[in-house]
Amino acid sequence: MPEDKFHQSVFINCPYDPGYRHSLWALVFTLRYCGLTPRIASERLETAEVRLERIIDLILETKYSIHDFSRVKSREPNEYFRFNMPLELGLDLGCKNYHHDLKYRQKHLLIMEGERGSLSRAMSDLSGVDVLCHENESERLVEMLRNWLFNVGFSDLAGPNHIWDEFNIFNADLYQHFKKKGFRTTQITNLSFKEFSHYLDLWISKRQPGVNQ
């Protein structure tokens, strides 16, 4: 992949349950609004590749990554914990620290949790590593992500309140757009990631993201 794409790409490692859908929308919106390219595993689900190979490719193609461990507790008796996310974090850390190509030492990882202290209880090996807590609030998520992007070198960014307001306005536009196409409200709420991303690309192309109006 071209070097400039590597420097603009962000791997998102997050839950894929319906309860996280709108947090994912907020994450993806903020990245796109700040001029970055979000990459998630499900974007290439239609291919026959082995999922693990796909994840490794994404890790190799992205300088930045977000690992949101908002789900570290089972919600029903006998529910199995899914270990995909810790595995993907481990692969990303391994790439940053051990890959023979030194460009991967520049990787930046954002690790987040939904409840303060929850990750240190679930993954004690991360004790001492900076973990940011968004308290399961999308507004906090947008603010923390924006501030983290600034800290890793993206200096020309709109303020967190501006990006949050723009995300809300985007949602109103998305709602009107799909209502006009005959979608019910629940169908808009449950929009596929692919369709959401398609509309977001269209919306971003018609705005001037990152510029305070």
């Binding site: 809300n168 109103a172 709602y175």
Partner: protein
């Protein structure tokens, strides 16, 4: 793209709610509760559509002008 100049948004902000008109440079006023924000927006019902947002930023209710 929808017309972005005839709506008022009620948006969660920190520990309160704000009103923001399409095209405005920033939110106009902050209220302690969503209900307070709704009551303030009611005075503008003849000129603007009203978009009430959920705390996650998505649309909770959309009323066209004159309908709220």
């Amino acid at each position: 793209m929808p017309d972005q100049h005839n709506r008022i948004h009620i948006i969660k902000r920190d520990d309160g709610w704000v009103l923001r008109k399409d095209g405005a440079t920033k939110a106009s006023k902050k209220f302690p509760t969503k209900q307070d924000a709704l009551e303030s927006a009611y005075d503008l019902r003849s000129s603007y559509d009203l978009v009430v947002h959920s705390p996650d930023g998505t649309v909770e209710n959309y009323w066209e002008k004159g309908q709220y």
